[in-house]
Every structure is written in C-alpha cells, then in structure tokens.
C-alpha cells in the first residue's frame, strides 16, 4: 500500500490561500472526485476540507501509480483555476508512515488550531462519507480512515486532550453559568452593548435554550442586529436600571472607557429586585462593572474577561500536558497500522512460495513412492515428514528475512526479487 497526502493548514498557509483551495460544498467535492478519478484512475482519494485545512489523501496498491506532489498541485490549480505558483510554496506533502501519522494527528485534533477540539472528528468522518458517496475511496483509504477514527476515539478516551472549555464564551456559559443555573429557558438575559463577544456568548446560551433576551442600547442599529439574530426585545438606555434588577444573566460589552455600573448603583438595583442570583459577564475592556459590584451581596456572581481568560488558560494548559500522551498513542497506532499494511503486502508472496515448494515436494514424493512400491505406509509417512521438515528449514531463512524487512515498510525490492527468483508471477 502506498499513501500520500498533499495539504495546507492554518500553520502553513494564510486564510487567503486556504479559502482559495477549499472545497466549499459537497457538490464541489463530488465534482473534484470525478476529476481526480479521471486524472489518477489507479488511486483512491479522500479530501478533508475545513476552514483550517485542505488535505488530499491518495492511496494505491502499486508504488508506480502514485501521483507526485506536482501532479496533485496541478490538479488543485486546474480545478480552482489558480496559477500553481500562488499556492505551491504553501503546500506540504507526506508519504507512507508520515502521511498515516499526519492523518491520525488531524483526527485526534493534535494538529488543530484549538487543541483537542471535537469538531474535527466529525469533519474527517464527513469527508470520508462524501468520498464514499463519490466512489473515490477504496479498500486502502477505507482501512486508513476507519483506523484514524478509531485512534481518535482512543485518544479521547485515554487522555484528557478534549477536556475543559477553552473559549471565553464557552467557559462563561459552560463552566460558570451552568453551575449557577439549572436551566436558561426561564431566565431573563440582559445584553448591554453589542460586541462580538456578546454575540458569541448569546450563541452558546441559545444552544442551552435561552429564555427572554433584552438588549439595552445606546445606538439602536447594533441592538436591532442582535435582536434580529437572536430574538428578544430592544430597550432604551434609560431603562437600564430596571432591567439590571430583573435580569438573571447580564452580558456587558459596551466599550465604555470607565465602568457604567458601580457598586452603589447596583446595590440600589438589587434592593428593588427579588434577590435572586445574578450572573454577570463583564466582557468589556475596560470593564463595564466596577469589581466592587461582586461584593454587593452573596447572590452576585461577577466575571470579567480576565477571570474567564484565566480559566481558558488553565484548561489550555491542562490539554497541553496531554499532548505527549496523545502522541504516544498516535505513534503506537501508526506503527500497528503500518505493520498490518506491510504484513498484508508480504503475506500473499509468502503463501505462494510456501505452496510452490510443498507442491514440488509432494510431486517428487509421489514419483519416489511409485518407484519403490515395497515401502509400507509407515515408511512413506516417515519420508514425507522428513521432506516436509527439509522444506520448512529451507523456507525459514527467506521468510524470516521478509518479515524482518516488512517491519520497516513494504520491502518492494525484496518481494520483487523473491517473485523473480522463484517464478511466483
């Protein structure tokens, strides 16, 4: 088996290059598979195309059928109608064991921009499914991708590479919000300002089944955009204190140059309210809530961007410590996969050689027994056993050498020599 990958990812190429080489839809991928089949008929193909990477895996039985990196780059160039010089320098290529290891790294999210993210597994699986749909893959890529998904599962089970949230919004909602509130669908969420971070947090809250959203605005345009995207209602800035008292969750990203809510103001608001816990996400820099607001009462849970970033960093650090363990698993699985592959490659030759020699010995023994009809069955069996032992002893050194060579890769030269020496075609 021969396997190659030509790829560019977030580490090797800018987004401007990746987006040009990407396959934006399933239909485009299916067209690409048609083109690849026409161009490289002896190869199997799988394309993994995400926002962070574009990778083309190819595999063939015969080494001579493998397309070169230049030929694959030429395919990209013609399919996307791009000059090859525009991206050739950003492309990387791996073959054999390195290509297998690379795919395992990708599937295990070791190679991801966000280490340990889980999305990549479904993206790899989806790529494999589309290749199947486009009749682009075959037994070699099937074995490779199925093993990649198995390795990914193993890494997730045996390491903590995917544990702990590492984005501000997911930490805010998942690590803190969910530990304060059991549910969000009966909560009032107040959004002050309409920054990107507020949007991302609202997206997480929406996944959790968000309740009522109130956007307090200074500029109606931004608030209308949020209201339009997430539902809810826009309220004028003058009503801020009223909504501060009613909200269970407050997300603030005003971009003001000084805190808009101090402790005294918030204390007055809390006195008028029901005294229920309030979860405040101050995502503004500078901060929108004075840190003293957290001390107004025991029901106030105030988190600013530094608190959340600190938690993200801790989670990231925890994941980083798991990389070594994940790499060990990938290394072990790569070696096992390659061993299986090489074993499959040498297996048929060994089988044929063994059968050929035993056939010859059987034929010669039959001749001998016809010439010596006085031999009884015990003598015949003794001779047969002796000849079999001789054949096995003669076969042992070449087979052992083949097996040893197969540990480091398919021994194409040796296999070819064996075929030619013993006429095993």
């Amino acid at each position: 088996m021969n396997v190659q990958v030509v790829y560019c990812n977030h580490q090797t190429a800018d987004l401007s290059v990746r987006e040009k080489l990407a396959f934006a839809s399933e239909a485009e991928l299916l067209r690409a598979y048609d083109a690849l089949r026409a161009r490289f008929p002896a190869s199997e193909h799988v394309v993994v195309s995400t926002c962070n990477r574009v990778e083309l895996y190819t595999a063939q039985e015969a080494a001579g059928d493998a397309p070169s990196t230049r030929e694959l780059a030429q395919f990209f160039s013609e399919f996307h109608d791009l000059p090859i010089e525009a991206f050739l320098g950003d492309l990387l290529a791996r073959t054999g064991t390195e290509a297998v290891r690379h795919l395992f790294d990708v599937a295990c999210s070791i190679d991801s921009m966000v280490l340990g993210e889980s999305q990549i597994v479904s993206q790899v699986k989806s790529a494999y499914d589309i290749a199947t749909k486009g009749n682009a893959n075959g037994p070699l890529t099937n074995a490779l991708f199925q093993r990649a998904l198995t390795v990914s599962r193993r890494v997730r089970t045996e390491t903590r590479l995917s544990e702990g949230r590492i984005s501000i919004a997911s930490v805010a909602v998942g690590e803190f919000g969910r530990n304060i509130f059991d549910r969000f669908d009966d909560k009032t969420i107040l959004v002050i300002g309409a920054g990107e971070m507020a949007e991302e947090t609202l997206r997480y809250l929406q996944n959790e089944g968000v309740g009522r959203i109130v956007v307090v605005y200074r500029t109606p345009e931004n608030s209308q955009r949020l209201v339009h995207e997430f539902g809810g209602q826009a309220q004028p800035w003058a009503d801020l204190d009223m909504w501060l008292g009613r909200a269970n969750i407050i997300i603030s990203t005003t971009g003001a140059d000084r805190p808009i809510v101090d402790a005294e103001r918030f204390r007055k608001v809390r006195r008028r309210g029901a005294g229920e816990p309030v979860f405040i996400l101050d995502l503004g820099a500078p901060r929108d809530f004075d840190p003293a607001v957290a001390e107004v009462d025991e029901g106030v849970f105030l988190y600013d961007i530094d608190d959340l970033e600190r938690t993200c960093a801790q989670n990231r650090a925890a994941r980083t410590t798991e990389i070594a363990r994940a790499r060990d698993i990938v290394e072990e699985e790569t070696a096992r996969f390659m061993h299986d592959v090489y074993h499959k490659a040498t297996g048929p030759i060994i089988q044929r050689l063994r059968e050929r020699w035993h056939d010859v010995s059987r034929q010669e023994l039959e001749l001998l027994f016809r010439k010596l009809p006085d031999l009884d069955s015990n003598d015949q069996q003794a001779i047969e056993r002796t000849v079999e032992r001789i054949v096995n002893k003669l076969l042992h050194p070449p087979l052992e050498t083949l097996r040893d060579e197969a540990r480091d890769g398919t021994p194409h030269g040796l296999l070819d020599a064996v075929r030619r020496l013993f006429h095993l075609h």
């Binding site: 029901a274 025991e298 988190y303």
Partner: protein, 327 residues
C-alpha cells in the same frame, strides 16, 4: 454464615469507599469510581445481612428493635441513596459528602443502646409508625445537610472563580437550592409525625406500665431540636426569596446540630430517648448484664414465645424469666 457479619465489616467497607471517593479528587479514573461503588456495595450487603440477623434474633423489625438498629437502618438508607446517585451520575462528587455521615452513624451505632425496646413491640403498629416517620424524617435531614454543604462548596467555588476540581462535580446552585428546600419541607412534617406518634405511644402505654416521661431532659432536648427544624421549615415557606446561601447555612446548622445532638444523646444518656426504664431498670438489666448481646436477644425471643404461649403480660414474663434464671 450471615451471623458472622460484624459491624466492623461494613464500617471498614464504607471507610474504604470514602477513601476512594477522596482519591477521585486527584485521580480521575473509572476504576477508582467503580472500586468505591464496589466497596460501598459490599458494605451494603454486609450491612443488610447484619440487620436481618439481628431482626431475626430479636423477632422484631430493625426499626423496632433498638436504637443501635434504628441508627443502622438510617445509615442503610443513606447508602442506598449513595449507590443510586453514584451509578446514575459518574461525575458527581456525592459520596464525599454523604459517606462521612454514613461512617459517623455506623461508628456511633457501636456506642448506643443495643438492647431491644420491649415497649415498642408491645404496641407494634404505633411503634412502627413512630420509628418509620423518624427514620424517614432523619434521612431527609441527612439529605438536606449534604445538599446544603454541597451548596456552600459550589457557592464558594463560583464566588472565587475557580475551576471544578476533578471528581468533585456538583449540581448547579439552582438545583441544589431547590432540592434542599424540598428535603426540609418533606422531612420536617415526617419528624413532626414521628414526634407526635412518640407522644401518642407514651400516652397509650402509661395506664399499663411506666412509660417515657415527657419531662425527661432527652425528650426536652429532642423537642427543642424539633422546634428548631420547625422554625426552619416555617421560615422556608414564608420567605421564599431568601438568598440561597443563607438557606444553606441555616439548613446545615439546623440539620447538623439535630443529627449530632441526637447521636450524642443516644450515646451518653444510657439509651437516649428510648432508654428503657422499667422501675429503674432497662431490658438489658432485667435480663442480666452477664448475657452477651446475641444471648440477650435470643433470651428475649424465648421470653416472648413463652409469653405468647402462657398468655401473660410482658412484664410478668420478664419476672418468669428472672425466676427461671435464679432457680
């Protein structure tokens, strides 16, 4: 074989389960979790065998048998809850909060009155009702105590903006507060019913024998504890908007104080509330201190059978037994 099970067997099992639960704070492993569940299950089986053996020897359900058995039934219920929650939720650090109470109760049961209270068996249905209400109410109190401690730990963690420690995943404050509220609201009426049936029991017994005196210090302390719980109950109902942390603190103090005081009372007041006094003697004294526990239970069993056969009052059968021993 079941009779060979001792208190130490399941006490040690629960202690091991607790140690393993504590280990989960540092070692996140399914093996450790299942080992903790395994030890607790082994303790649970031994615990059940122990209670059954004692119940069969005394010919009484454990709840009616003695304070020792009653406390063990309470611990048994707590273990059932622990196993149920632990199997359902693999991440929840519930055992770390509940198992110490189980260990405390099993340990305390060693020092409380182990002799059978003959008065409860005399009015079996009332006695059963009284003991059941008390044990369920007390189980509710234990749950409320555990939930309030969990609430305070979770609250502290969130206020200090720290990450969850592995193996110590806790439910949200909202859920803990709600469950805590329900635990108190359900357990206090049960304790009240237990209290009321206890008073009823002593009134029923009073014409025929010396019963528990309502003016005894242990009864007065129990009444005060109950009033404290009642105060908490009423406060929860009339002040629904009270901050959760305050509720948790008050619940923790009220329930913790109730449990600890009851156990101390039972240990140091020679039988506690149910200190059996028949003309100044308890059943154990009546039957002779030289008898071992199993002998005394067996003797009580024989005594009852004899009392049923010759149809004489229980007190007279005690005298018969004493006469037989003297002769």
């Amino acid at each position: 074989m079941l009779s060979n099970v001792t208190l130490l067997c399941f006490f040690a099992s629960y202690l091991c389960a607790l140690a393993l639960e504590a280990t989960r704070l540092w070692v996140k492993s399914a093996v450790v979790r299942w080992a903790a569940i395994g030890f607790a299950s082994a303790g649970f089986v031994a615990h059940m065998a122990y209670l059954l053996t004692r119940a069969s020897a005394a010919d009484l359900p454990p709840l009616l048998s003695s304070t020792h058995d009653w406390l063990l039934v309470l611990a048994f219920l707590a273990v059932v809850i622990y196993l149920f929650v632990s199997v359902l939720d693999r991440n929840l650090g519930f055992g770390l909060f509940l198992l110490p109470i189980v260990v405390l109760m099993v340990g305390a049961s060693r020092f409380v009155n182990q002799s059978t209270d003959a008065r409860l068996s005399a009015v079996r249905s009332w006695g059963m009702l009284h003991a059941t209400m008390w044990v369920l109410g007390a189980a509710g109190v234990i749950i409320a105590l555990v939930l309030s401690v969990m609430y305070l730990v979770q609250h502290r963690r969130l206020r200090h903006k720290t990450l969850l420690q592995d193996g110590l995943e806790l439910p949200s404050l909202e859920r803990l507060g709600r469950l805590n509220w329900w635990a108190i609201v359900v357990s206090v009426p049960l304790l009240t019913l237990g209290m009321a049936t206890g008073v009823g029991l002593s009134l029923i017994e009073s014409p025929v024998r010396n019963s528990v005196r309502l003016s005894e210090p242990s009864i007065v302390i129990s009444l005060l504890l109950w009033m404290g719980m009642m105060g908490l109950f009423v406060w929860l109902l009339v002040a629904p908007r009270t901050p959760g942390k305050l509720v948790a603190w008050r619940t923790m103090w009220a329930c913790g104080f109730l449990l600890v005081t009851l156990i101390i009372l039972e240990i140091f007041s020679q039988g506690g509330i149910h200190g059996v006094r028949e003309n100044g003697e308890d059943v154990e004294a009546v039957m002779g201190h030289d008898l071992s526990r199993s002998e005394s239970l067996a003797a009580l069993h024989r005594e009852r059978q004899l009392a049923r056969t010759i149809r004489v009052p229980q007190g007279d059968s005690s005298r018969l037994h004493r006469g037989a021993k003297d002769s």
